[in-house]
Symmetry: C2
Subunit: 218 residues, 2 copies
DNA sequence: CGAGTAATTAACTATCTAGTTCGTAACAAC
DNA sequence: GTTGTTACGAACTAGATAGTTAATTACTCG
């Protein structure tokens, strides 16, 4: 039935075990928060023992930091692939906003990890050398789009790249990170399929409208 | 030196003790998260014992729910005082956005509590009857502003009140709730005084610009 | 094939933590 | 004062939890 592969499945496989721990740990941390996550629980949700977690990561905290590092690395990789340089400024910034929306929509667990990290005042991120130097290239991109748009006269509002990034992120992150309390208070699940495309268009419109400016009356 | 007051300070004062527990608990929960907060720690940070926490609140979870209820009640009270009805639609919505900004700026601990509650998928809010029926009147207000603005032709974009509220909240909440990771990545503290007034103007501009619309090119 | 190393397991421990027990002291009503 | 009730405190407990110890098994390489 199951033919033995040429290279037999190894019974002991450091890489695989390490990767599996990270995967399960990410889910557990995102589900319960840092303090709420249980090392025993992580171990039981897979085919290894708690000892392995300490063997590979040393402590609960170091495991958590490793989870953060991996999650941020994936996001960074996705950001690297964004290409809107060939578009006109208005469409470039709109597309960037919509791609950010898609990206956050597809990585909800990551958003939760970030929220957890904020509750702990980013103390773990600060402990990680990998993450501390994560100067995101998205700022350069936005900076170039803004400069081009202002040069062409498409953008009237004088905006700062970090501010614009914040505006877009706020919308996309909030929709995911605050979905539960928002639903409890307003009876609307912002992450439900029926709201998705409308909100996606909205973040693009919002950004473009803000940059076009001309919203200030005499 | 210290004259005895006509009504002497009571050595035992249920209301005062209860209130103090709630106060200290809010700080502790906001600081460490639900699971991270320690009942012993809460007790030690004040002039009463752990026994009283269980005497008045029954369990850690019920204490946490009571903290949430009090925090939401305060916010609701503040919202009740907002009066922008006498303003023209454009200025009304701008002012509402800026007041929301001020409000979130002044209640950062509340924002953290909401973030914590979202990590736990709002399970505690759902357990509270007080909070479940917190249909916020802010939606009515926004609805009236939008209708008036559209009737006068000031607002071109056809927007939904919940969506607009979400847009404003996203900006104001994100600035506070994600301040630490944002600062770690972009080296900018969004909550620092030097960014405050600029961002405050920004949320107003953004909202007005979006509603004015006319941002879609031919 | 034999020795050394990397990966893995099961059982253990010290500590921490939510929740309790039981007794007592202040207050109010009469 | 006496009595009943509300508010309070110190010490305790049962279970959970991060982290360890030490033995064992698979794999590698000469």
């Amino acid at each position: 039935m199951t033919p033995r592969p040429a290279v037999p499945e190894r019974q002991r496989d450091a890489d695989r075990t390490r990767a599996e721990i990270l995967e399960v740990a990410q889910r557990e941390f995102a589900r319960r928060g840092y303090a709420g996550a249980r090392v025993d629980e992580i171990a039981e949700s897979m085919r290894t023992t708690k000892r392995m977690i300490y063997y590979y990561f040393g402590s609960k905290e170091q495991l958590y930091i490793a989870v953060l590092e991996k999650a941020y690395a994936e996001v960074r990789e996705a950001e690297r692939l964004v290409d809107v340089e060939h578009l006109a400024p208005v469409e470039a910034i709109r597309t960037l906003a919509e791609l950010t929306f898609d990206h956050h929509d597809a990585h909800r667990e990551f958003i939760t990890l970030v929220a957890i990290e904020n509750i702990h005042r980013a103390e773990h991120i600060r402990k990680s050398e990998v993450l501390a130097n994560l100067g995101t290239p998205v700022l350069d991109l936005i900076g170039r789009i803004l400069a081009a748009g202002q040069a062409r006269g498409d953008f009237v509002t004088e905006a700062d790249a970090i501010d614009v990034h914040m505006m877009i992120s706020a919308f996309c992150v909030f929709r995911v990170s605050n979905q539960h309390t928002f639903a409890a208070l307003f009876d609307r699940d912002m992450t439900a399929p029926e709201h998705r495309s409308r909100l996606r268009r909205m973040v693009g419109e919002m950004t473009v409208a803000y940059l076009r400016g001309a919203s200030t009356p005499s």
